[in-house]
């Protein structure tokens, strides 16, 4: 992503890490929700950002569950030829919730697994470009190519498994006031 490109995170594992680790060089180039951390805001927000700033590439990252909150807006993206690039990390679950249920609630799983569409077929059914499951080494070159194309939306599906928790790096220990 160029220095002045805009990154839109989501309430997803890679998004949590991005808030700490993704390098940001300029104001208003890293979009993130407030304290409420509203799942599902990302894709639609990124469409708005890309439409407002057609002069720079915008990258949205989503988990599969978060993307499905507003996935129907792919129709809007096609209708207005919004050249947003969206990476969907697909683990087949609300992964953060699922891990919490596993670790804190004795693996009693409820409502955390997803019945997903074929995301590539879904995007292509709107006429959007889509990349199916690129190998890890091909993701970065694929993104660079996607940023160079400005004729419409592009979805990249990245299948992932369960990820290690990032929360030990986010939740900070008490050092004052007992």
């Amino acid at each position: 992503l160029p220095e002045d490109g805009i990154f839109v995170d989501e309430v997803t594992q890679v998004g949590f890490v991005a808030r700490l680790a993704f390098p940001v060089y300029k104001p208003r180039t890293f979009m993130s929700p407030g304290y409420q951390d509203n799942l599902g805001y990302g894709f639609a927000t990124a469409l708005g950002a890309q439409d407002a700033r057609p002069d720079v590439p915008v990258l949205a990252i989503s988990g599969d569950g978060g993307f499905l909150f507003t996935a129907n807006e792919m129709a809007t993206a096609m209708r207005h030829r919004i050249p947003l690039v969206t990476v969907v990390f697909n683990d087949g679950a609300f992964g953060n919730v699922r891990r919490i249920q596993e670790e804190r609630y004795g693996n009693r799983l409820i409502a955390s697994d997803l019945a997903n569409p074929d995301f590539v077929a879904f995007a292509e059914s709107f006429g959007a470009a889509a990349d199916a499951r690129p190998k890890p080494g091909r993701i970065a070159p694929g993104l660079r190519g996607a940023f160079a194309r400005r004729d419409g939306p592009r979805l990249i599906e990245v299948p992932v498994g369960a990820m290690p928790s990032p929360w030990e790096f986010i939740l900070m220990g008490r050092v004052r006031g007992g």
């Binding site: 002045d4 808030r19 390098p23 940001v24 300029k26 407030g34 700033r53």
Partner: protein
């Protein structure tokens, strides 16, 4: 109100030139109190939230004057260039958390640090908020400044050298050093942007070939 808000949105998207928003008067007593607190602070820390997105140059220069790390998270990311050695994220906490009096500022600071770190008598908080109700809803600040972050911080930068234990001429020296050397990109850019903003209240984006 609707037109004022629309003006703000346009300013955020296209630069501040179109914004004709009326800035509230700056509380000079609070500025002086903040300058005294920060100038005497042993280990000041700046916490930048989303409200500081249009005060990047000011936050960066203030950080230089105080030699204070700038903590940003979520909506505060990008306020300070991550290539600046004073830029920090919460994951770097072992390097920035410790005893000693500190100041913190920035509108909508991330709730995590204050909630999780805890508060004691050695921590003095200086807040800058757009919302006048915000200070009362937060852990008691020693100084509360209300208004847009950029003009408030510009005024604070003007007043701070007289109270800054790090040297009353630190601001001039820092600006001169940044102009002369330019070996610290984030610092030099901050000084240049601050200088241009003083003459014209807009801060357009510049193209760059760097990638991540």
């Amino acid at each position: 109100m609707r037109h004022r808000r629309l003006g703000t949105l346009r300013a955020g998207a296209r630069g501040r030139a179109a914004c004709r928003c009326r800035e509230p008067p700056i509380d000079e007593d609070a500025i002086k109190a903040a300058a005294k607190r920060l100038g005497a602070a042993k280990r000041p820390l700046i916490v930048a939230g989303g409200g500081a997105q249009d005060a990047s140059a000011e936050v960066t220069l203030l950080a230089q004057l105080l030699q204070a790390p700038v903590l940003s998270y979520r909506r505060g990311r990008g306020v300070i260039d991550d290539r600046d050695p004073l830029s920090r994220q919460p994951a770097a906490r072992p390097r920035i958390v410790g005893g000693g009096r500190r100041g913190a500022r920035g509108r909508h600071p991330p709730a995590h640090p204050l909630l999780q770190w805890g508060i004691d008598r050695d921590l003095a908080i200086v807040r800058v908020d757009a919302d006048p109700d915000e200070p009362a809803a937060s852990p008691s600040p020693k100084v509360a400044l209300i208004g847009d972050a950029a003009p408030i911080l510009r005024r604070l930068i003007d007043v701070l050298p007289a109270h800054n234990a790090r040297g009353p001429r630190a601001a001039d020296e820092m600006r001169s050093a940044m102009r002369a050397h330019g070996q610290a990109p984030g610092q030099a850019r901050a000084a240049a942007r601050l200088s241009s903003r003083r003459s014209a209240p807009n801060c357009p984006r510049t193209a760059s070939s760097s990638t991540r």
